[in-house]
């Protein structure tokens, strides 16, 4: 013996709305009810009663929850925000890395220029000292 129990979620508890002996009609009614805004959740429970063993089993064959939908929507929004944050972080990290590379390049160029300047100054000084020494030696050689 099969019966279908249409239940609605109200005030923090499931409440029996109606009973059906026709599966098709029960499912249609559950679907119709779930599309309205009267209840936050709707489910359909199939009850199977075995008169031989006098026992029954039940299983949920339909369930729609607006709360569940809202939770899923919130979770999806949260996931999208996380993706956006990660994207922004990646962009910031890439920009910082680029900036650092350019700064390093500029520093190296500066260091190279400094090194050339020092080389020129030092070379010029040595050359000047050499010329002075040659000039001094030439004068000394002329005296003797």
């Amino acid at each position: 013996m099969v019966a279908f129990e249409l239940q609605t979620y109200q005030g923090g508890a499931w409440r029996i709305d109606s009973l059906f002996n026709d599966r098709k009609l029960a499912v249609m009614e559950a679907e119709r009810l779930s599309k309205g805004d009267r209840y936050s959740a709707v489910r359909l429970v199939e009850e199977n009663y075995d008169p031989r063993t006098q026992s029954s089993t039940s299983k949920v064959i339909f369930r729609v929850s607006r709360l569940q939908d809202q939770r899923e929507a919130a979770f999806e929004r949260q996931r999208q925000v996380q993706v956006e944050v990660e994207e922004t972080n990646r962009t910031i990290r890439a920009a910082a890395s680029e900036h650092k590379a350019q700064r390093l390049k500029r520093r190296r160029q500066g260091e190279m220029a400094n090194w050339i300047s020092i080389l020129v100054i030092r070379g010029g000084g040595i050359l000047l000292i050499g010329i002075c020494l040659l000039y001094g030696l030439g004068r000394l050689a002329g005296k003797f």
Binding site: D17, K24, L25, E29, R32, R38
Partner: protein, 165 residues
Amino acid sequence: MAGDALDLAEAGPERELEASIEQRLIGRLLDEWRALRGHSALPPFSRIDPTALGEIWPWCYVLSLTPGQDDPVLVQAGAELLRDAGGIALPGPLSGLPPSSLIGQAVLHWPGVVERRVPISTGGTYPDLAGRTIRYRSVLMPLSEDGKGITHLLGAANGRVMVAI
């Protein structure tokens, strides 16, 4: 009985779509019952308005329950149900309804409604007086004047002749 969308009609696998007429009848009455109930456990009988039920009223009926009596009284019934039952007199006892009529079949599960205190929809087949097999669907809902005890039952039923293929 032709012309009315809710009239008994021929049914068969190829006419599955038309089954929605009975489904709409039941859905409509359940919506009405839920709206009248509001936040209370049961809606009051006094708020049942046949004019508000419009085109489905000819397929609706009301039973009155008296505490301690096992035979409810049929106090109201729509024109189509009365015609299908062969023109029964109102008010009349449930035991006086012909079992081979739509209303006679639809009221059979009334004790379950009183026991469970929720609407119960049933469907099935039965042979009518002409020997035809009728497939029907029905719904029966509890009503209460004081919000506690069930004083009336509001029901609806519709069916169609099954065609042998």
